[in-house]
Subunit: 751 residues, 2 copies
């Protein structure tokens, strides 16, 4: 395997500060830190977040991922001039994120307005192990004249979530004239965060300490000769009351001791250990391309870099936030994105993580059952948005309409119910790819049964059939409709799979069986019309259409809402994102090629792609028919974060869309499918790709695939004969093999 | 009267951002706004404060003056370049505060890093009437090339008090596509603040609105030809639930209507009306000098400018914060500063304000009596620090010692009791200068009686005499001592005056009379020793001395606490500030010239002047003996805010020290005194001053004084014969007169 590449920022532009702060953010699933510069800029939003550390500032607010006290900031003064890239001259500048190990490097030469040039290098890394550890290094070399260097850095608890404060500063300390420690509690006193920092300085460097206005700071004062380099490291330990073994009495002391131990290990030992973890990760996960277009490989590396950083693999008490741990968008809440867009990647690379993500849902079944009960249903109605408690976190009302003063009720929590089936779908997928009976016997079957029970109670009998009324499907520009195709098919699948697995594990009861069978036989599943198009819902076809080209040109910005109210959009054939197309992706075996083509042709022109979840899924469906269009859509999907818009990612990367970059390559161009229990591949590489290589963990076996348009090479070691379907045809192999297929893609033979 | 001058900042230096933001702050006693630039800078602390609008963020915090949502900030983009004086080139720069009318003007030419030059002028003013009104103007002229100008401004509620958030955003609105309104409530739901803003724009200028992350913003987009000027005005109405006639139901609408009315008046009408108010103020208050040193006049104008801005003359529910309304230092709390350092100025220029400041204490007698009761005393023990409620606001513990983790108990609330006598002293002074029987009969006598009762209960009988044990005098480097001379003499004065006024108004009761007389006869009043020096307290003379020169060289910085603990400082002859000297200033008639000279000679070398309250009081005592030294001390006192230290005033101007600039001129160099009921003057001008002119309101009569070293001219109109003591000799005049005095300063004659 070659190394994952770097993401490079070639120049400094204040318009792009927050885009790059998100794109180059560091994370290890436990802790995330935005790639802010050491020095402050007025529009730069610093951010450090701990998975699961949410708080509601006031009763009128909602739980949000707390923006923690900052440890990255450094005020650097060079001969009395405050270092800022806005002032003086940038002689050289390069910033890069090394995706192979998560190191963020900035290397620049700055000429002060007072005249001297300075070479400034900074490095930063979040340790892959232990997760609480953050390390950084700063080097400054005056190139022309001696320098009086002053640095102020420490722990800055003036950080807020855009003005909302969640933490009380309970104690600030300096131990042994070198270790800084700030202890913070959420204002509701439920969680504690302790940050401990140490600056490793050259001998004879003076420093002093101050604590004022929520800032615990170390002031470093150095006289440097020209061409001599000052180097310092800052090592921090960021921990919370969610940590294993947390004890309120000893926590601060424990943190201090942990930090001291790491300080003894030293910077290079820590980075070497971290690099080893990253290397293991990439071996298990990296997708490699031979492509004419190098940005395709970069997009995949970028996606997988963030997929590692966003995922709280250390704890089944947390799941994946919509922006990972890179920003405050969507308040750090967890959506269906996790199960549908992100879980498959983990399932096929590190299935233990997929298990944990499902365990997160399982552990919050009680809250889901309570929500169902409150809404008059049975079973489990999982929250549309969740955080740490598993309660529904969707705001009851949208932001105020500043013109009318009215707040529109947010309907997702009360109607976007497909998330229930999405969790069931992921549960089945988990089983199919792992055959993890231990999980399935207990958590899996329970999840399937409770979700199925929800649908049984959710359906309404209309003229002798079961219908599912008043829902929102994946397309959120169409609210409160009846018999959304996606929802109905997915609910059907949910109940069907529950029945099957309950029977398989002997957990069936007759009443459920009777009701489930009745539901499966009489649930209305919208059929394709004469033109092979499946109606998105009962009323969709009756609505007018408008020319969407100008909104599609500004996709992702919801610009249509500047011209039309939500209510007006609701009454037109306008899709925010994949809906029927999403269904075709998840349950492909239910629909033939003609139906897929017809629905793509019908719905794509009506879809603005204002959701980041849309493009890559369209690419997957397109890949089955039109390779060139699929590749175009895929490349556009790769630009959701990496594109030129300076503000697309200000509030964090788009977690689900990064998952979808992986989905697009594997479910799209590799033709991967396994939901029915068999491992399917069907390569349909874009002509720009000569080869596609990826590892897959299939039922405990570590496989490596190398795909070209006409050949599939399977490497790895496995004990039982392995059956793989290539373009629908079964191949059973016992050792590494290469499978060729002939030109009409229908007959293959093993070599 | 000539016009008050300007305070000018000749260049832009980021190190001085917060100093000038305080020095050039605008205020009208109701509202204060720091002189932040329109554009953001990372270290620039914006601030807007409403008198009386305090809040305690959490139970562990203390009440602080809330830093309100910002209306000053403007993000200006010129041909895509974000305007910042750190970038590009500053071709011309001048910022000035016009003290005659409070207008803040910035006039600059900036060359963008992209090349074009822009002439940018901004003006800002807080209306003197109505107090809720803030107006500003922005002019931009591209000098070289056409310009695509983008401005974002509005109401930014991400403001915090160094990370503490006090306000919930309850509603944000845009009315009629032009009026922005944000409504905020303190998180304890006790107070409401509503900010309404309007931008007056040239016709055909497009703008749009957004509300996100606590920012309600107007986005203005203009295409400008070269040499064409874009001008906009922003008019804002900032109001709170403390306003007269507040009604929760109609408040937001009322605010909108008030703003609309002002918008109709227009910018120039508002500024003209405001200027009129300022002119009236300066006529009543301005002190004018003919001096060799122009900075003396500037210091006086600066002091009086801020004395107007800091004083909540509109409401007796508020008093003057230690930093006025210019910053967050001392959390906006009210100290003895008000009665001893600030009230005399108001008393002799606008006595109604002095009355209101005393009414503030009177209205909070209940809280003072409760505090006395809780501490085991009778009468009224006023809080050392107070805010809106009149409760004690002094933090129970000082900031944590970051090395030991211990918090030292703040002793001021439990021992700095002289504030009780200080309030009584100001009450008597108010009567003497006004003969306001209405006030004295009710509020005045009650204040004197309740404060006297406190001292009667506070004293301890020791060996047959009353002593006052375990106090802190004005010198806060000496804590928990017995018989602080200042405290004992002032307590004696308090009881003596209470007795006299209670008798005068027939409000005496026998029990009080007996106890008070006993107290007055047997209270221990420390006598001067053989060297004529009054012991600051019982133990002071027994303590060792150290060389203070290096700490005096860094006075104001409390640098001694870097070398010694507070406990150690307490055990040495080290004064933070005037203590016995303060006593000599307040009760000068009790001590002869020899005693004054001896005490000055003894205590000044032992005083670091780490308090801003110290230097000017020393100048007053010195002026009675050594004119040159007095002038030196006075000039140093004038530099507390205006001096070269870039960070001396970051957290706001030093309100009491500004009052002391006026005290130094009048009580020092003019020899003013009136506490005993007669108006005394005794000019002892420094040789640098040829003439000193000032108005005085004496018992309802508006007098104007013109002083030279040997002549006093009195102008004005008065009905009753007016008796003035010049250098101790009475002169009764019935019309404007000039009084000469002979060279030995003892005999004068009227001309």
């Amino acid at each position: 395997m070659s190394h994952p590449g770097t993401l490079t920022e070639h120049g400094f532009d204040p318009h792009f500060l927050n885009k790059y702060a998100s794109l180059m953010a560091g994370g290890n699933g436990y802790l995330g830190i935005r790639a802010s510069h050491e020095e402050d800029y007025t529009e730069q939003v610093r951010g450090m977040y701990l998975a699961g550390i949410y708080h509601r500032a006031t009763a009128d607010d909602i739980n949000e991922l707390i923006n923690l006290p900052d440890i990255i900031g450094m005020r650097i003064e060079l001969n009395g001039e405050i270092f800022s890239l806005l002032a003086g001259t940038i002689v050289e500048y390069r910033r890069e994120l090394k995706m192979k190990n998560g190191e963020l490097l900035r290397d620049l030469v700055w000429q002060s307005p007072l005249g001297g040039r300075y070479h400034i290098i900074s490095r930063r890394q979040m340790a892959a192990s232990p997760l609480q550890l953050v390390i950084s290094q700063l080097e400054i070399t005056p190139l022309d004249i001696p320098c009086h260097l002053q640095i102020m850095t420490g722990i800055d608890a003036t950080q807020t979530n855009f003005g909302r404060q969640h933490l009380n500063e309970t104690e600030v300390r300096v131990f042994e004239q070198q270790y800084l420690q700030g202890s913070y509690r959420t204002t509701d006193n439920q969680q504690e965060v302790v940050i401990t920092s140490y600056c490793q300085l050259p001998d004879n460097v003076r420093s002093s300490f101050s604590a004022k206005n929520r800032r615990l700071m170390q002031h470093i004062d150095v006289s440097l000769e020209s061409h001599h380099t000052f180097q310092m490291s800052k090592i921090s330990w960021v921990a919370s009351s969610l940590d294993n073994g947390y004890s309120a009495e000893t926590f601060a002391t424990d943190c201090l001791n942990h930090l001291k131990q790491q300080v003894q290990h030293g910077y290079s030992t820590i980075t070497a250990r971290s690099e080893q973890c990253w290397q293991t990760y990439w071996q298990k996960a990296r997708v490699e391309l031979d492509s004419d277009q190098p940005q395709d490989q970069q997009a995949l590396d970028f996606a997988l870099y963030h997929l590692a950083g966003m995922t709280p693999a250390h704890s089944e008490l947390c799941s994946i936030a919509a922006k990972g741990l890179t920003g405050e968008g969507y308040k750090g809440h967890v959506f269906w994105d996790t199960e549908i867009f992100l879980l498959p990647f983990h399932l096929l690379t590190q299935p233990k993580i997929a298990r944990q993500l499902l365990r997160y849902r399982y552990l919050h079944l009680q809250q889901a059952e309570e929500k169902a009960h409150r809404n008059g249903y049975r079973g489990a109605l999982f929250p549309w948005e969740s955080a740490f408690s598993g309660e529904e976190e969707t705001p009851e009302f949208a932001a105020i309409n500043i013109r009318t003063g009215l707040r529109q009720r947010v309907a997702s929590a009360i109607a976007e119910h497909h998330i229930v089936a999405d969790i069931a779908y992921a549960t089945v997928g988990y089983y199919q790819a792992t055959h993890d009976h231990d999980f399935m016997r207990q958590e899996g079957v329970t999840l399937l049964q409770k979700t199925a029970e929800f649908w049984l109670s959710r359906a309404t009998e209309v003229n002798g059939r079961w219908e599912i009324l008043n829902v929102i499907g994946p397309d959120e520009y169409t609210e409160h409709i009846n018999n959304n195709a996606y929802t109905n098919y997915m609910a059907h699948y949910n109940v069907q799979q529950a029945l099957a697995f309950m029977q398989q594990y002997g957990k069936i009861d007759t009443a459920f069986e009777i009701q489930a069978n009745d539901f499966l036989h009489r649930l209305y599943l919208p059929e394709p019309d004469d033109h092979h198009v499946i109606p998105q819902d009962d009323s969709f076809f009756s609505k007018p259409t408008i020319d969407l080209s100008r909104y599609k040109a500004h996709q992702g910005s919801q610009s249509i809402l500047l011209d039309y109210s939500r209510a007006e959009v609701n009454e037109m054939q306008i899709l925010k994102q994949a809906d029927v197309i999403m269904l075709l992706h998840l349950l492909p075996e239910l629909f033939d090629a003609q139906i897929k083509a017809a629905n793509f042709a019908y719905y794509e022109p009506r879809t603005i792609h204002d959701s980041s979840l849309s493009k890559a899924i369209h690419a997957i469906i397109a890949s089955q028919q039109q390779s060139e269009l699929a590749y175009q859509l895929y490349q556009q999907a790769c630009l959701i974060d990496l594109g030129p818009d300076p503000h697309s990612s200000d509030e964090g990367i788009h977690a689900a869309s990064l998952g979808a970059i992986w989905l697009g390559a594997l479910f799209g161009f590799a033709g991967l499918h396994y939901q029915q229990g068999e491992l399917h591949l069907n390569p349909r590489l874009p002509i720009q790709w000569q080869q596609l290589r990826f590892p897959l963990n299939w039922r405990g076996q570590q496989l490596f695939f190398t795909l070209t348009q006409n050949q599939i090479q399977i490497d790895g070691v496995w004990s039982e004969p392995l059956t793989i379907y290539i373009a629908g045809q079964a191949h059973t192999i016992t050792q590494p093999s290469t499978i060729n297929r002939n030109e009409n893609n229908e007959n293959c033979y093993c070599a």
